[in-house]
């Protein structure tokens, strides 16, 4: 059953502002990943954070992970129109390569120019 829940479901902000999306999950994980999906396209991998990590950065992205609360957040700083997309968190229960990911329902982000 689906365990990830993103919050909010939709977010609309002005270009240049920061966007924060949250994800909660239910079972134990090896790692948590964030993906972006542009309309009508496949998923693009953004960042992976392992269960023993608390924070990770990649360019304008900052991800945090709190395993005690079973939650993660994705922060996009200085947003751009091109960041408009749906963002999904996905959990991997054991790592190692062949496990199917469990996805959340996604946050639809709209950046207003």
């Amino acid at each position: 059953s689906q365990q990830g829940e993103e919050d909010p479901q939709a977010l609309s902000i002005q270009e240049g502002e920061n966007a924060t999306m949250n994800c909660s999950y239910k079972t134990s994980i090896n790692n948590l990943q964030w993906y972006r999906q542009n309309s009508g396209r496949g998923l693009v991998h953004l960042i992976l954070i392992r269960s023993n990590e608390r924070e990770k950065h990649s360019g304008r992205l900052r991800v945090t992970l709190d395993t005690s609360k079973k939650s993660s957040s994705l922060l996009i700083t200085a947003s751009r129109a091109a960041d408009t997309a749906s963002y999904f968190c996905a959990t991997d229960p054991s790592g190692g390569g062949a496990d199917g990911l469990t996805f959340g329902k996604g946050t639809h982000l709209i950046i207003q120019p």
């Binding site: 689906q2 990830g4 090896n30 790692n31 990943q33 993906y35 396209r41 496949g42 998923l43 693009v44 991998h45 992976l48 749906s86 999904f88 996905a90 991997d92 790592g95 190692g96 390569g97 062949a98 496990d99 199917g100 990911l101 469990t102 996805f103 959340g104 329902k105 996604g106």
Partner: protein
């Protein structure tokens, strides 16, 4: 290739007809995954392969869904006797022995 390729891009079937979708993983990747996305919502994991062997098929509706990954051939996902609720976008992903999965562009299946 450096991208996961999926064919066809769109597929329309009448209810009860068979649908077959294809996926060419990135060369050198050992793992292949199939996911189903209904109405742009969450992705449902269907099945994974390690090379040509099924690794995890807990998400597959086994009565009508089957999948294969044979050597030197694209992987395939086949749906026998399609139903209206099978309408979705089906994504294939592949990964090397690591935790990052690389997704293809998807096949949109419409069952009428």
């Amino acid at each position: 290739g450096e991208e996961v390729a999926q064919t066809p891009k769109h597929l329309v079937r009448g209810e009860g007809q068979k649908a077959k979708l294809y996926c060419a993983p990135i060369k050198g990747h050992s793992y292949v995954f199939w996911y189903q996305q209904v109405l742009k919502n969450e992705f449902k994991f269907l099945i994974s392969f390690q090379n040509e062997n099924v690794f995890d098929e807990t998400g597959m509706p086994k009565e009508r869904f089957s999948a294969k990954c044979l050597p030197n051939s694209p992987c395939s996902l086949e749906i026998q006797a399609t139903k209206l609720e099978d309408s979705a976008v089906y994504f294939c992903a592949s990964s090397p022995p690591s935790d990052t999965q690389y997704f293809g562009p998807g096949t949109r299946l419409t069952v009428l």
